[in-house]
């Protein structure tokens, strides 16, 4: 009897497989919420056509933690734009994953032009860095991912003291669709 019920249960459920992440994912349907020092609501548009790749699926079950106690170079973050499983992982081995850097920051060069911190950087010659951030995502099905990014970007004008002249923090949520 137990076996019959288990079969019934499993027969009506679908189990996540990391192979689902293979392919190219297009980001859209942005919504954001930033602090008052960072009016970035209009920055994230579908016209950006940002795409992502998870890379080697063997790494999906890593914890994904990628610590850096100091502020992190944006260039370093962008090096993962086609290998998200190097900074993301699913500790539970299920359809939910966490990234130790904001996934959207791996595409920074694509949307930085109108971003307030980047404009400050160009005006005052400070260096934009990631102070803190992460992403969380869940595979809704084999063609859809829901993502939430949180990031705190700073613009450092004195590398020795690490003093920031502008701190931008906020959430960005979006939908990824497999291409």
């Amino acid at each position: 009897m137990r076996v019959l019920f288990l079969i019934a249960l499993l027969g009506c459920t679908s189990q996540y497989s990391p192979s689902v992440s293979e392919g190219v994912w297009l980001e859209s349907e942005y919504t954001s919420d930033f602090n008052s020092a960072c009016p970035a609501a209009g920055v994230f548009q579908n016209s950006l056509n940002l795409t992502y790749e998870f890379g080697n699926t063997a790494n999906y079950s890593d914890t994904g933690y990628w610590y850096d106690s100091s502020a992190t170079s944006i260039d370093a973050v962008q090096s993962y734009n086609k290998s998200l499983w190097d900074v993301c992982g699913s500790s539970g081995g299920n359809a939910r994953f966490v990234c130790s850097v904001p996934a959207i920051l791996t595409q920074y060069d694509q949307w930085k032009e109108n971003f307030p911190v980047e404009q400050i950087s160009q005006e005052q010659n400070c260096v934009v860095q990631l102070n803190y951030g992460y992403s969380e995502g869940v595979f809704i099905d084999d063609k859809t991912v829901r993502m939430v990014n949180y990031m705190e970007l700073v613009c450092i004008d004195d590398p020795e003291s690490g003093q920031s002249i502008r701190t931008c923090s906020g959430y960005i949520s979006s939908l990824w669709t497999k291409q």
Partner: protein, 404 residues
């Protein structure tokens, strides 16, 4: 009306000396007669061979149960489809022709008194009014069981936790210890059963419930009821913890008899433990199969469904609980004996033991809270988890009389 009956020396072995039996069924008035001078009495003249009588219990279509004797020759040819009538010699002394369509079953009383073939000549005047009442109100001290079992199953009203639709009778009850959970159940009428229970030694979780159940035909019982789980100390630790975190209303149907039966139940469960208040629909399928006088196998299986999430395209399956247990059946006494005796008058323990294994299967879906949209996204992928086997031990002590 007056009539004379010749009694055998032992109850249940009245000899066939009644005469002028013309009634077709038990519902018809008992025929008045004088001292037997004709009919059957004539057949029992000392010069003739005596009839062989077998003690039986006869259940009538209207539910009345009679004990008495039937001629061996009639029993040999009787079948439920027979069109003839049965000549039934009641323990109370009467003899009655009972139409076959009025008879539901005839069960031989295997441990009854010896068959007696010689009529005695004791003559007794019986008040027919009292005699009729005796027939209707007759409650066998220890009703024989259906099938080839020597006593009634005292635990037909329940599986491991869930009840069947077979009700306890008025005055019957039990006290049950399920792992760390103690419960008491009492049949306040033949159809209404009340339940109270709590965890021990600390009453962290308590329960109050009730069930109404009735038999609608020979094989089917139906019922319905409710159970409410309480946290008596909820307010002592956290003001947000609900006092009654789980309430269940259910309906059920049971097919079978006291020894072999299957129950399907469903209902509505309102829980506030894991949510701010959500409704799920449990489905329960349970079965009981008696293998011998003292042994039965019991299974109880729950399926928890959340139909609300089907709108999101998600699976409604939340969890299932499966169990399989052996039940060592005890007995009830034939009379009211509330406390103090561990052995029924027939020599069997008054307690029933269940030993089994329980498996909990849960289904979980990954979720993501979106603070920007203030919503939770649910994955359509699900994962199944199994906890167990968890040992199940239940000791149940029965009180109240055996089933009438």
């Amino acid at each position: 009306m007056l009539y004379f009956v010749l009694f055998g020396s032992t109850v249940g072995l009245a000899q066939p000396v009644e005469s002028s039996v013309e009634a077709d069924s038990i519902d018809q008035p008992i025929e008045k007669s004088d001292v037997q001078t004709d009919g059957l009495a004539e057949e029992l003249q000392p010069t003739e061979a005596p009839l062989s009588m077998l003690p039986v219990q006869m259940t009538l279509a209207n539910g009345i149960v009679l004990t008495g004797s039937v001629e061996f020759q009639q029993l040999l040819i009787w079948t439920p489809q027979s069109t003839d009538s049965i000549r039934f010699y009641m323990d109370s002394g009467g003899v009655q022709e009972i139409a076959n369509q009025s008879i539901t079953s005839i069960v031989q009383i295997t441990q009854g008194p010896e068959v007696q073939t010689e009529p005695e000549t004791v003559t007794e005047v019986v008040d027919p009014v009292e005699d009729e009442e005796a027939i209707v109100d007759e409650e066998p001290e220890f009703a024989p069981s259906v099938g080839n079992f020597s006593f009634q199953n005292p635990a037909a009203s329940r599986y491991l936790y869930a009840p069947s639709s077979i009700p306890l009778q008025q005055g019957q009850g039990y006290v049950s210890q399920k792992l760390l959970f103690t419960s008491g159940v009492l049949g306040v009428t033949d159809n209404v059963t009340l339940l109270v229970g709590t965890t021990v030694p600390f009453p962290l979780v308590s329960i109050v419930g009730g069930k109404y159940a009735k038999q609608i035909n020979e094989k089917w019982h139906v019922g319905g009821g409710a159970e409410v789980f309480f946290l008596p100390f909820a307010g002592a630790f956290d003001d947000d913890t609900p006092t009654a975190p789980l309430s269940i209303g259910f309906v059920s149907a049971t097919y079978g008899d006291l020894n072999s039966h299957v129950t399907v139940a469903t209902g509505v469960a309102y829980e506030q433990v894991f949510s701010n208040g959500s409704i799920s629909h449990p489905v329960m399928v349970a079965g009981h199969k008696r293998l011998s006088d003292r042994l039965a196998v019991v299974t109880e299986n729950w399926l928890l469904l959340n139909l609300d999430i089907m709108a999101d395209g998600r699976s409604p399956f939340t969890a299932s609980i499966n169990s399989l247990a052996f039940r060592f059946i005890g007995n009830r006494s034939e009379s009211y004996q509330w406390f103090g005796q561990s052995i029924a008058s027939q020599g069997y323990p008054r307690a029933t033991w269940d030993f089994g294994l329980v498996f909990l299967n849960a289904v979980d879906s990954a979720t993501l809270y979106d603070p920007v949209l203030d919503t939770t996204h649910y994955s359509l992928y699900s994962e199944g988890f199994t906890f167990g086997p968890i040992p199940w031990v239940d000791y149940t002590w029965h009180f109240g009389p055996a089933r009438r």
